[in-house]
Amino acid sequence: MSYALELKDLRKNFGKTEIIRGVNLAVNAGERIAIIGPNGAGKSTLFNLISGRFGPSSGEILLNGHRIENKAPYEINRMGLSRSFQITNIFPKLSVFENLRCAVLWSLGYKYTFLKFLSGLKDANDLAEKYMAMIRLDKKRDLLAMNLTYAEQRALEIGITIAGGSNVILLDEPTAGMSRSETSRFINLIKEVTVGKTLLTVEHDMGVVFGLADKIAVVVYGEVIAFDTPEAVRSNAKVQEAYLGTHSAEEEAGGH
C-alpha cells in the first residue's frame, strides 16, 4: 500500500539559493495535513513543486506510488491532484457556473471535443450545479467571477479546485485575507467539501490549523522539522524553539 503523496529528499534551488533543502514527507490517503512555518520557509514553493508548476532540482515526488516530479501541471492534475492558489486564480470573465463547468470537463472525459454542445452534457452541467451549491454560490450562478466579493471568489477558487474530482487536494492559504468570522465559516466549508479526500493546506491561522488538521508539518528554512499530530507538534521542543515559542518568529507568522 503506497502513500497518497510521498516526497523523498526533495530539493529546489533558485540559482545558488536553496529554497527547499531535502524535504521528506509521507501522507496517507484521507489524512488532513496542515503545513505551517514562518514566511519564506518554502511552503508555497513546496506546493509549486508538488503541483508541477516548477520542476524540482532533485528528489522524488510520488502520487499514489507514481512518480510525478517531471510531469506538467495538467498531467499531474489528470492523475488526481488538484491545487488552489494563494492569490485568487479564477476565470474572471466567465460566469460562476462556467468557471465550475470548465473545471469538471476533463474529469468527465470531454477533453478537447468540439463536436458536442455544452448544453447537452447533462453530467457536466449537473456536476457543476452540485459544486456550485456546495460552495454556496448557486444564487450567483450567472454572475461574472470578476464581480464576486473577495470571500465569494475564494470559495470559487476552492470550488474549481475540488470540481475535477481529484483525491489529493492542495490548498494554498485558503483563508488568506478573510475576516475571523469568514474564516471559521470557510473552514467548515473546506471540511465539508473535502470529506474522504487527502488534504494538504498551508495555513497561518493557528486556530484554524489545530481545528482542521489530523497532522501538522512544520517547515522551517526549506526543511520539515516536525511532522506529527497537533498535540505532539505543540509540545515539540524543536518547533517551539524554531517557530511557535520564539516571540519574533510568531510575530512574523502572524503578521502576514
Binding site: 501541471p73 488538484s82 476565470f91 470548465c102 455544452l118 452541467n125
Partner: protein, 428 residues
Amino acid sequence: MKSYQFKPYNVGRWLIWSLFAIVLICAPLMFTSNLSGTMLAQMGIAIIACLSYNILLGQGGMLSFGHAVYTGLGSFVAIHALNSITAGTSQIPVSLLPLVGGFAGIGFAVLLGYVTTKKSGTPFAMITLGVAELVFAMSLMFSEFFGGEAGISGNRVAGPTVFGITYGPQIQIYYLIAIYTFICVALMYAFTQTPLGRILNAVRDNPERVEFIGYNTQRVRYFAFIIAGFFAGISGGLGALNFEIVTSEVVGAGRSGGYLLFTFLGGATFFFGPIIGGILMVLAFVLLSELTKAWLLYLGLLFLFMVMYAPGGIASLIMMNLRVAAFGKLKQIWVSYLGLFVTAFVALIGAGAMIEMVYHLQLNSALGNNLKFMGIVLNAKGVDSWFGSVFIMLTGLGLFEAMRRHFLIEWGDIQIEIEKEIKRREAA
C-alpha cells in the same frame, strides 16, 4: 428553469437566425447596382474572415498579425484547384472549391500553427508576425505557385454545370458566398458552445489556471488555431472564386492588419462584433477609398479613438445601449447623443477640410490651389480656408468636449439607476 436545458423552441434564437438568412437572401434584391453586388459578395467573404480571426483574438486572446497567411494561402490553393478543373485534370465541382481552400487553411494551420501556438501573449504575436513575413517573402520567391507580380488568374465558369448554374453571373456567385457565409457563421457560433470553445475562453482569461484543471493550454490554442485556419481558408477560397485572380497581396501584412483592425472595430468581445467589422471593412475599402485619398488616415484616427474610448468595439456600444433601452432609459439621453454626433461632425468637417487641403498640396498641386470639399471650394494656400477650417474644428471640439462631459454625467446617473432597479427586482 435552468438556462442550459435544451430548448427546442428558442424563439429569440430562431428569429435572429431567420432574420440573418432573410437579409442574406434579400440584400441583392434591394441593392441591385453592379457596385453593390460586388460589395455584398465581398462582405460575406470579409464576415467569415473576421469571425475566424476572432476565434483567435476575442475567444482565445491570441493577437495574430498574420491571419492573412491562412486566408491567402486558401485563396492560392483554391485558384490552382480551379485552374485544374478548367484544364480537366480534376473533377471537383466549383461550388466545393471554398472547401478546398478551407482544407488548405487547415493544412497550413497544422504546419505553421504548431510553431505559432507554442507560445502565448507577446511571443505569440511576434511569431505570427514572423510567419507572415516568411510567407510573404516566399510569395515573391516561388512564382509558379504565387504567380509573381501578376498573380494567378482563373475562370470560375469551369467543369460541368449543375441546374444551369455556371457561376458566370455575379448574382450566382453572390448566392454561393451567401450560403457559405450562413453555414460558416452558424458553425463558428456553434463552436463557441462546445467544450473546446469554452476552454478556449478560459485559456484567454487565465491560462495558468487551465493547466491546473487538466488541460494543456498549448493544445487548446493549437486546436483553436486550426479551426480558425479552416474558416479563414474557406473565406480565401470564396475570395478566389469571386475575384478570379489571386495576387501575393492577399498574404501580405496589410491584409492581416485589416482583419485585426476591423475585427477590433466591430467588437471582439461579442460573437457578432466581427460581422459588423467585416461589413465596415468592405465599406471602407470600396467606398471610403473612392471618396477620399486620405481614407487610411481617417481609418487610423477612427481606430485610435475606438481603442481609447470604446475598447469593446461597436458591438459593445450596441450592447451597452440595448441594456439602457431595456430599462427604458434611452429617451433620457438621446438628446445628448444627438448633440455628440452633431458636434463631432462639426469638428470632423474642420479637420477633414485641413486634411484634404494638405493632401491636395502634396498630391494634386499641379491642378492649382483650389479643391472642392463637401460642395465648397477651398483654397489650399488661402488664409481664409485655413482659418475657417481651424475655427470650425476648434468650435466643434470645444462643443463636443462640453457635450461629452454632460453625457458622461447623465450616463453615470443612468447606470446607477439601473443598478438600483436590478437590486430592487432581485429583492422582490
